[in-house]
Symmetry: C3
Subunit: 635 residues, 3 copies
């Protein structure tokens, strides 16, 4: 399969007279894909039952006959006002109990049965009409599930569904009370109908209560998506996709992905930098016009796993956006760099969002490939350069990286419920570890926690899996590669209770976590020989080899043969001190990449990226600012 590019287009925003010329220019720009339809409900069904399909028929025809392949979105992220009038309680409710209303998008609660029926109805109509349309080459369900904090809703609909979900899981209220430890603080229930949502409590709710509510909320997204996929599959053979977001971790993307053929995501490297990357201010300054050098890569690897190998960037930032705290323009070269980075991580397609900047409404300051006056915006030239370059580059091909990291949404939920120290999160722990491996020049596969076959991986890294299934523990101890676990591995059972024997309870690793502590982030605990523990650490008991020790004498990292246990939140220096010797011991080539330089391999290529704003070099290679080099390699 060739690497391809595309764009996102809203024919309903423009005079019909523009469509053909737009399509011609898309083809000229080398674009293969055009996503449409996902916000168009009010133009398809302006009033209940009054359908206006013709314009969409025509738009698909115009685009398709120009040579473009259409990705058709279901419009369920933006139900029209009249839908909300029919279902005045269909909105999500925030943690303070306030209903979130109409006037933007994603204004529905996943648990609302009335809206589920409305969504099913409109999706069925879309699928019936376009399921066999030859230009519709793929589908997208909804748009950016979970964006704008919409996964978790404290609505009555959610309460009702949560009780049902709990009853299905625990069967009896005694079982639930026992599992959650509700004897504590007399929180025992007599009946499932007494259970509330874990907001507005006087002090923190039972973490078992909160964790279950997060799991339920995640399941509701999966369930809502499946309603759509079940319907579309009845009418269409085209592959199904959904466009996920960056660092939206409130639902289990793997489970949504199980119902789709392709995972896509919306990559806004500059938009994400301030609020989502979690970098300190000095790094935010250095990368203000480039984005964090690892944040996109992590998501590429994650969504490759979510898509079971098939993944796209559905929305690629092409210039300044409108929604971040600050919205600078990217450095010249970055749109090309981001595009190639996606291909380097195995993307089948990179689609630029959006074709033409809209002059009106919420995203009027969001750049496109065209300006509002239809002139080329700066990104267009870079998109055309990518067009020329992929013409001469290899096809998309499968590739297994030498290093695996397990990313577990349930661990993210558990850490969010119980960070123990202010500011600690699973995602950040994972990201720090991922970054350390990337600075060593290693390519990484992200694996879901259900993985049991680790063949071919030299190094398997799984920090922070607070609940670890026994069979995963078994599979890891049997893996051929080196396994690095911790901190907090197996710290809780499936109901958020500390297990006995104490964690991590890994076969062959004679160590228990006898005590944990969280630390002020401005009080790093130095490690003998370099590096530091920051924010969190565990006190270990047992007889194992100590790899790194804090200056106060406590073990920070221990190992036993092919298993390493990290008993602390390590900074980058310390992570390298642990990981580099292991990787080298496994025969991997460990680089020492500084600043914005990163590497990624495919089966036949090695890519060098310079996220830096100035020219640099590595091993004789000259790396221009904001640029990418593609080299052939033999594996």
């Amino acid at each position: 399969m060739k690497r391809t590019t595309g764009t996102c287009y809203y024919p309903e925003h423009w005079d019909k007279a523009l469509w053909a010329e737009d399509a011609r220019r898309m083809v000229e720009a080398g674009l293969t894909w055009v996503r449409i339809g996902e916000f168009a409900w009010s133009r398809i069904e302006p009033t209940p039952g009054d359908f206006q399909w013709e314009w969409l028929d025509d738009a698909i025809e115009v685009l398709g006959t120009a040579g473009l392949k259409v990705v058709l979105g279901t419009p369920t992220a933006t139900p029209p006002r009249w839908v909300a009038d029919k279902h005045p309680d269909m909105f999500a409710v925030d943690v303070d109990g306030k209903q979130r209303g109409f006037g933007s998008r994603r204004h529905y609660c996943f648990s609302h049965e009335g809206y589920q029926a409305e969504a099913a109805r409109i999706v069925e109509l879309f699928a019936e009409r376009y399921g066999a349309n030859p230009h519709v080459a793929a589908w997208q369900t909804d748009n950016e599930y979970g964006c704008h904090d919409t996964t978790i809703s404290y609505s009555d609909a959610a309460l009702k569904a949560f009780r049902f979900w709990l009853k299905d899981k625990y069967k009896t209220i005694d079982a639930l009370n026992e599992a959650w430890g509700n004897v504590f603080w007399s929180m025992e229930y007599n009946d499932f109908d007494q259970i509330g949502l874990p907001n507005l409590t006087v002090t923190e709710p039972n973490p078992a209560h909160s964790l279950n509510f997060r799991r339920f909320s995640s399941d509701q997204v999966v369930r809502f998506n499946r309603i759509q996929t079940d319907i579309i599959r009845k009418h269409s053979k085209a592959p199904l996709s959904h466009n996920y977001m960056g660092r939206v971790t409130d639902f289990d993307h793997y489970k949504v992905g199980d119902d789709l053929e392709i995972a896509t995501w919306d990559s806004y490297p500059l938009g994400f930098l301030e609020d989502r990357v979690g970098a300190d201010v000095s790094e935010q300054r250095v990368y203000a016009r480039q984005g964090d050098p690892d944040f996109q890569a992590l998501h590429h690897d994650l969504y490759r796993a979510v898509g079971k190998g098939r993944w796209w960037v559905m929305e690629q930032q092409p210039g300044p956006v409108n929604w971040a705290p600050y919205n600078p323009a990217p450095l010249p070269g970055m749109v090309r760099l981001w595009s190639w980075e996606a291909f380097a991580h195995g993307a089948e397609a990179v689609c630029y969002f959006r074709w033409r900047q809209a002059p009106m409404a919420q995203e009027q300051m969001h750049a496109g490939l065209l300006r509002p006056d239809s002139a080329d915006a700066p990104a267009m030239a870079e998109a055309k350069q990518v067009r020329d370059e992929i013409a001469n580059a290899p096809d998309v091909a499968p590739y297994q990286a030498p290093v695996a990291m397990i990313f577990d949404y349930d661990a993210e939920f558990a850490w969010a419920v119980q960070p123990h120290g202010q500011g600690l999160s699973y995602f950040s722990l994972f990201f720090e570890t991922y970054k350390a491996l990337r600075k060593m020049g290693l390519s990484i596969d992200i694996l879901r926690p259900e993985t049991r076959d680790f063949d071919g991986y030299k190094l398997i890294v799984a920090p922070g899996l607070m609940h670890m299934d026994e069979s995963l523990k078994q599979a890891l101890t049997k893996a051929n590669g080196h396994v690095m676990l911790g901190p907090r591995t197996g710290a809780r059972d499936g109901d958020m209770v500390i297990p006995t024997p104490l964690p991590p309870a890994i076969e062959g690793l004679d160590v228990i976590v006898s005590r944990v502590e969280s630390l002020r982030p401005d009080m790093p605990e130095p490690i003998a020989g370099g590096g530091a523990v920051t924010g969190y650490r565990e006190l270990l008991e047992g007889s194992v080899d100590v790899v790194l020790r804090s200056k106060d004498g406590e073990a920070a990292v221990v190992s036993n043969g092919d298993v390493t246990y990290v008993a602390a939140w390590l900074n980058q220096t310390a992570l390298r001190r642990v990981l580099a010797p292991i990787a080298e011991g496994q025969g991997l080539d460990v680089l020492d990449l500084k600043d914005g330089v990163r590497v990624r391999d495919t089966a036949t290529e090695r890519f060098w990226f310079n996220y830096g704003a100035s020219e640099t070099e590595y091993d004789g290679r000259r790396l221009e600012a904001a640029s990418v080099i593609r080299e052939e390699r033999s594996e």
Copy 2:
């Protein structure tokens, strides 16, 4: 007309036996004016229909016969509890949907019809009784419209009125949908009754929706005030006024001012410093006991425009207040300085708030001219010094400054709806530019955006007018003086949509803004030769002379003959580099005032102010700390 002073007095707070002595001491202090009545409703009408006018009759008589002129306030800012009991939904509702209750002041929603009727009723009774009273020399409507964030209300009354206002403006719902671009995200309405208020949306609402709601909210203040002025004019020939606040910009003061003869404002230089000036912390420390050297001046100039030339300070801070984050005492001399600064900007009167410090209730820590025990507070001596000084100074006289700045409330609304970058505001942009001109020793007239005649101005400065009426554009290009525009000039049409051709679309200025970006405030973009862009800039296309260029090569300021376009948010150094040569080219005398020294001219005088806490000098003049010098001059 002589320059005069006055005070604010609450006879209802004090034993009647004190009134005559108070009046005597007011006259002794040289005061001309005494404002009363504006919070006295519960003493006039303690229960519905039970009127107690006698005490107010007597108070006016006592004050008037002592030689004072009374400004009588309508008491509508503080309806008594029983009014609220009659209209339990008369309160404003905040952005989170919480109703704001009784127990302080300004507890009403401008859109509530029931309260409008109550207000009309009590105002009619006041006007009937005192309209012809010889001691009532002026009226004040209500008190500090908009203070405590009371302009914008998300109440049901506001919703109903907003729909009515929209229908009146757009006539058909299709026209509204088209103008707002509601096709975006399927936000189209079928009927005006489906439109909600732009709060509690899932993500940001349509900026056209928000901007219209702000314009509506502003109009509701105008409408509420006009109910009162229409009534009072039927009964009285005395001039009408209202006391505006510092940096309350949620409603269009010019439009309220159109219904009044005199604009007054309440000047709390120390109270404003922390939260309203927007200065950085180091400046807040330097001016903790003086206030910002330009903040009062800007409001003096603004309210001179609002008052069509006639304006007062109705409440002048005389000592520590109670309501700021920190409430220091002013430096000795500042009360005199503030008084003279008002006169230098053309004030007819400066009234000190308040006569005697109240020992009870919310403002018990707000200083007055008297202490709670009736002894003179420190401000009294300075008030008496001003009394002596104005006796020997010229009368109030008209004066046209050489420099004009256009201040546009609608631009403030538009920037608030869409700052693009965190912390950017129209007011701050205007204030920074105003400050740069003041540091050059220039006196400034503020003009409203409806101005079309710019005769006599050497320099006309209009930053940030996001929507600029075509006829204003025409008038500016025809002006004799030099015109400086931008950034964001004409960036939106009247419905908050990006126009095509792209902005600024100024005749004779061959330039378009092809892209904009906002920047972290800690990442200034240096300008070649000195100064910097901070926070925001535009990328220009076109053939014009570049006045200043960023070090990365982009044009920051361009010009074409007598029009200069500023394509960025400039810091003080850069602003001076642009403005000083223009002003000198126009024959103006440009000074280089540092620290707290400022200058202001009248027709016959030049005033030198030193806001600094230490003595300084300028051009041989010795300027004591916290002092003012008045010099005669020939224009």
Copy 3:
């Protein structure tokens, strides 16, 4: 009476089979006391009227026969879900009007009559059943009144009770209007039923309104507790206690204490450090693993007063907790130090919270004497060391310190209502002064404001008593010791009104506060000769000796013989400059203790504490890190 130790135990959390072994190990650890029952309502009465007493009978029997004395807690802090279902409006309501729900603890409003009846019912049943049980050696009412901001509730029940309370206090609405100064802003009421709660007002409410609501809220706690004590006393002769919290100052602990024999408190030195101590960040780092060196001592002294001499630590932190922003482990030695510090201040008992770390629910990361797997946690060894040491130490004995400080909850309420400057609080002022005395090596008694007999005190210190009863003024001026007052002494009458003559109005001290000001905390006003005023100061008029003067010439501290008036918020250096000469003049031995070293005397002992993380010395004594030395002394 011997000094004793104990623990808190939850038999309902553990298999019955563990109880006997747990009891045996408690006795082995030298523990005397075991507190149980206070969260066990759902196990005693799982459904309405279905009582399960047997397990509790057995638990008391097992513990008692093992040799332990039981403190039995009433379970009213955690009513089961079914109680809340019976009384759906029994919850407190927060300042934003949101009801706080079920799912944690303290989920009741003190004013709810239905819940008061439920509480009385269960307490009566407890008292009947165990009032005469020989193992029940003491009672605890409820748990941590006021914790999690639960004193103040804006519920309908509170509103109703508040109106009743006001009517009882003021008799007529005219009297209330007059006392509060409601003529200000037309806030006058016609009837008590018009009075609302002081939240959700447009700007700040009348401080008299707020202060009365705080006093009412405090009284409701007293009233709720008295319901319980009245019942228990009918059935039991064992002493009654309640476990107060650290820096919970929303209710008057003295008044609750009047109904109890013993005051206890829950001491979490590390848990309190970040949010409650108010130390700056650098101190938080220095004492991260030890706690503030004065915060516990202050509470020990305060609760000794609340308990009229009899007091315990009911919950002593034994390791990391779960609820602070950061939760580090204490330095080795601190558990012993904290225990001995309590004894040095006169504690009868120190009980460790909790026996075994719970693996489930909210406090699963809260350390105990045992780990979740029943192995000894690190604190156990220190508890055993304390066991051995108290065996050879003197009994608890009465001791009067040479220095007294008056702590007044009403002053805390008044400052909270009107801090005047951001961040100023009575508690902080008191704490800073207490710390200064402690650095001088002085032992302190805390007295309640009703104290009239100051015999035996060399120095009596009472900062910040905003309202000072005339008879207290009289008693203080007659005291033999030196009296230090201010700032803000007598600044308000009993209804929060500034009195005339102006404060402080102390007989024999010819001075009035003619003006006050609050200052930015980063603008200290230096004092001539060293030290500084920070945050707040008063301008004085009168003829007295000036002890310290600000560099700008204003008096900061004045005195007249044996009365010193402090007219400012002084930093530590300035406080020492005032206090040390006075103390020395009174014949006290003044030390100069630095860093973490502190001293406390009993009748026969002097204790030296080193809160520091490194060894230090004083006067030849070697003080190890985190350690305590006990010396004998003759008074």
